[in-house]
């Protein structure tokens, strides 16, 4: 092998790494007897980067030459970086050889725009086609659908790829125009809408005609860059909510803006807003798996997620009227809303309570995180009544009884954060209950 490939790989992996999506899940692609690979639907992380991100796919750009000049992107025309381009065959070889050594689940291919959009898209499609048809490759393929590409190319891409993504990048069109003058929402929504219609169409058809070919069976996703422009969490989550509802996206990825660019169109961040990104993922999780609506997570009064609390806890504290929840009686949806209870624990609770009343000990063993859940739960021990319910008190307890980690995004102006306050409930207990025990932190 020559150093040239090595150098290209270095440049084009480096340039692709800021696209945070790396999922290889959601596609079931059966292998053929003479084929290479499959997609099991689960997705496998074959390794993790030193920043703890999953490495599942060979994520590279076909080229980092680009005629556009998006401020947030390392590959922008005006940036002075080393440029490189793979040939179609080089990408195919790398994919096959990495795949058969079990380094990867497949390929995630994106590209800077060289010449024009269709010219670029056509090459991405050609790689996927060659992998599928010539090499009988049944591993995972994620292709970038480049905004502005023709419907025909987008369609062909869907026939070979498991997932397609059109990145909106900037969470509002107004901001997008400022930082990426050549881009607009219309040209991103066009392929997105085309894809969502075609994906739904194929799925419907497949129900009656089994031989209908796959069309992007793992659906489509997009990425939003967080913190480069002034949108609130509410703006971002509303946009995400719409994308899940309207465009039927499988995933929205949030990428905390990393100050890679000294472009004057962008704010000078000291560090990437990782905590904010993390909270957004938690909120997104609530939207997709916990049956929450956007306006239950953020609203006009709270346009930003609470950086100190996970959004489910935030919801519970804003809605004391729904708690406590009796784990021996409540419906699954409500059990899911208890902080400290995940999907798995909720299912186990439903299963286990058929055999008898659940007590605190059972819940702990099932995997409920007791120090979070205890404020919101009634079990057979009925100890909730001793806790009372005062959101402010609970908030303080949660924040100050756990070990607090220092957060790089938080300014530490006064040396020591707030000292714990004594925890005396300020509301009287409901009539008929014994007076609450006073607990101290």
């Amino acid at each position: 092998m020559n150093n040239r490939i090595q150098e290209k790989l270095e440049i084009l992996a480096d340039a692709a790494k800021y696209d945070v999506s790396c999922s290889s899940s959601g596609s079931k692609r059966k292998n053929t007897k003479d084929g290479l690979g499959n997609a099991t639907g689960m997705g496998i992380c074959h390794t993790y980067t030193q920043d703890g991100r999953c490495v599942s796919l060979l994520k590279i750009l076909l080229t980092n030459h680009c005629i556009f000049d998006c401020a947030y992107c390392v590959s922008r025309r005006s940036n002075d970086v080393k440029r490189a381009a793979f040939t179609v065959q080089e990408v195919v070889d790398l994919t096959i050889n990495f795949y058969k050594r079990n380094y990867i689940e497949g390929l995630f291919l994106s590209s800077g725009i060289f010449k024009d959009v269709d010219y670029t898209m056509e090459r991405l499609v050609r790689i996927a086609k060659r992998l599928r048809l010539e090499h009988k490759f049944n591993g995972y393929i994620h292709l970038k659908a480049i905004p502005g590409a023709s419907d025909e190319l987008i369609h062909e891409a869907g026939l070979y790829a498991d997932r397609l993504s059109v990145n909106l990048e900037i969470p509002s069109e107004m901001s997008l125009k400022k930082v990426a003058p050549e881009k607009d929402y219309a040209s991103a929504y066009k392929p997105m809408n085309y894809l969502s219609e075609t994906i739904t169409g194929h799925k419907e058809e497949k129900k009656t005609i089994r031989s209908t070919p796959n069309f992007a069976p793992a659906g489509q996703s997009t990425q939003l860059v967080i913190g480069a422009t002034p949108e609130t969490d509410k703006n971002i989550l509303e946009l995400a909510g719409d994308l899940y509802q309207e465009q039927k996206l499988k995933r929205v990825y949030y990428s905390g803006y990393i100050p890679i660019s000294d472009d004057h169109r962008l704010p000078a961040l000291r560090e990437a807003p990782l905590r904010r990104e993390n909270r957004l993922y938690q909120a997104d999780w609530l939207l997709r798996f916990y049956g929450f609506k956007v306006d239950e997570i953020v609203d006009d009064e709270n346009p930003h997620l609470d950086p100190e609390l996970d959004p489910k806890m935030g919801y519970a504290l804003r809605h004391p009227e729904h708690f406590p929840i009796d784990v021996n009686k409540a419906d699954y949806e409500w059990i899911l809303r208890i902080p400290g209870v995940g999907v798995k624990s909720a299912k186990k609770i439903i299963n286990a309570r058929r055999f008898g009343q659940l007590r605190r000990e059972h819940l702990k063993k099932i995997g409920v995180i007791w120090k979070r859940a205890k404020y919101f739960i009634i079990s057979a021990d009925r100890d909730f009544i001793n806790l009372g319910f005062n959101p402010e008190v609970i908030r303080q307890q949660i924040l100050y009884t756990g070990k607090r980690k220092k957060d790089p995004n938080q300014l530490d102006l006064f040396g020591n954060p707030l000292a714990p306050i004594p925890l005396i409930p300020t509301t009287p207990p409901p009539a008929g209950l014994s007076s609450p025990k006073i607990r101290t932190a």
């Binding site: 092998m1 490939i5 090595q6 790989l9 270095e10 992996a13 480096d14 692709a16 790494k17 800021y18 292998n31 053929t32 007897k33 003479d34 084929g35 290479l36 690979g37 499959n38 099991t40 496998i44 992380c45 074959h46 390794t47 993790y48 980067t49 030193q50 920043d51 703890g52 991100r53 999953c54 490495v55 060979l58 994520k59 790398l94 050889n97 990495f98 058969k100 050594r101 079990n102 380094y103 990393i258 100050p259 560090e271 990437a272 990782l274 186990k348 299963n351 286990a352 055999f355 008898g356 659940l358 059972h362 063993k365 099932i366």
Partner: protein
């Protein structure tokens, strides 16, 4: 009553069968080779009987379905001390209950076995993720593993589905056996010589080291130093796996 058996899965099931037949309670079940004689009790050694083993499994399946059988088999592969007696308790509870106890998480044994199965599942998943094949000159892909639990029997099928047209071997260097697949069928094999924890360089194709180097640079370049979080990294990729992970070798 203390029972000894040959350490095999069918052996354990045979013990369970005998305990039912003798209407006695087992207090301890251990493989003969690790049994340490105590002062007071003489163990009964049970010979493995496939027929008996099958009947136990059938009983468990009837009460708890295929998932019940899976649960105890996978837990057995954990090789944890006293796993035998836990499995024994589970089978007893399952057989005497009127309903399916598989999900009775209020029961200590049921809960314990599910926890163990979860650990096994995680290890299997790690094998799917961390197996790294190297191409040898005779066209075979070889991966060495060294899992915490004996998960090879649960891990191979994944690779059969994935690489049906390739010739490969996954070898457990700790337990000295491997899953060999030759494009048609799978077999468990044991190499005549003890396999080291690395493959000798002269066994490998020339391009093998090239691809390893490419993978190493890919791994390096996909990292974002601004986000470095080694704690998280180590949680996902524990050090004990590093010796088989190409990207973790000093390049």
């Amino acid at each position: 009553m203390i029972f000894c058996y040959d350490g095999s899965w069918n052996g354990l099931l045979s013990v369970i069968f005998e305990s039912f037949r003798l209407q006695t309670h087992a207090t301890k079940i251990v493989p003969t080779e690790v049994f340490q004689p105590g002062l007071f009790e003489a163990p009964i050694t049970i010979a493995t009987d496939e027929g008996h083993a099958k009947r136990v499994l059938k009983g468990v399946e009837k009460k708890c379905g295929k998932n019940g059988v899976d649960l105890i088999y996978q837990c057995f592969l954990s090789e944890l001390p006293e796993i035998e007696i836990k499995i024994y308790h589970f089978v007893r509870t399952a057989m005497s209950a009127t309903e399916n106890v598989l999900h009775n998480y209020r029961d200590e044994t049921v809960l314990a076995l599910h926890k163990i199965k979860k650990m096994i599942g995680r290890e299997v998943h790690r094998m799917h993720a961390f197996v790294r094949f190297q191409e040898t000159k005779d066209g075979m892909l070889v991966a060495l593993i060294n899992p915490d639990f004996n998960v090879l029997p649960l891990s191979g099928k994944h690779f059969v589905d994935r690489y049906p047209a390739l010739h490969w071997l996954i070898y457990d260097t700790k337990r000295h056996y491997g899953w060999h697949y030759d494009q048609h069928q799978s077999r468990f094999i044991t190499l005549t010589e003890r396999q080291h924890e690395y493959l000798a360089a002269d066994l490998l194709t020339d391009s093998e080291t090239d691809y390893q180097a490419l993978w190493q640079s890919y791994f390096k370049k996909t990292d974002i130093p601004e986000r470095r979080n080694m704690k998280l990294h180590l949680q996902h990729v524990p050090k004990r796996y590093w010796k088989f992970l190409v990207e973790k070798w000093e390049g």
